[in-house]
Assembly symmetry: C2
Homo-oligomer: 116 residues x 2
């Protein structure tokens, strides 16, 4: 593997599996590349939400917009430059605010393999 740089403009978004909201994911690095972590971008339409029990450790960095994440620990809200840490096993509801959101994510291990 080599050092690589990714921009949202390089991403090919696909609808996140298991839900039909306007929420999309674009893996840039994943199990195909041989490393232990998945790296990608997420895109959330205005006021869209998904509920999920996390099969992997998932870290989001908000690039644009704003998201709220509700779990047993309550609700946290994050905007540009803020990080949300979502440990494996947590049940979360992720909800974009009215302007939608773009995120960068890192998961360990690979979320597509854990979901399979």
């Amino acid at each position: 593997m080599q050092v690589r740089k990714f921009a949202v403009a390089d991403a090919t978004f696909e609808r996140s599996p298991g839900q039909d909201a306007d929420i999309f994911a674009a893996n840039m690095i994943d199990q195909r590349h041989g490393g232990p972590i998945t790296i990608g971008f997420g895109r959330y339409g205005p006021n869209q939400s998904l509920e999920e029990t996390l099969a992997v450790h998932d870290v989001m960095v908000v690039i644009e917009g704003r998201l709220s994440v509700t779990s047993d620990a309550g609700t946290v809200t994050a905007g540009p430059g803020e990080i949300v840490s979502m440990p494996k096993g947590e049940k979360v509801t992720i909800r974009a605010h009215e302007q939608g959101a773009v995120t960068a994510y890192v998961t360990y291990p690979h979320w597509q393999e854990a979901a399979a």
Copy 2:
């Protein structure tokens, strides 16, 4: 572990080990919390640089400013909202541009343990 949110304003920065440039790191989640990944913020002063052979897989998301990363693969430059993937084993030089930079980072496994 619980879902948590982090902002740069919450971070306590310390000089990155093994170098004396104005480059600082602030772990928000690490080996003390029991999970497999370290999450934190990095801060680079204007035109500061460090050279390192990566002991862990390291992902940076640029929050502010601009960085260039030089490796065997050449040089990539990243600005706000862009991701740099730096695989374990790569030798990199990370250099902030004239405005400095703030990053979010995720490492697998924990960089402080790998460096110890």
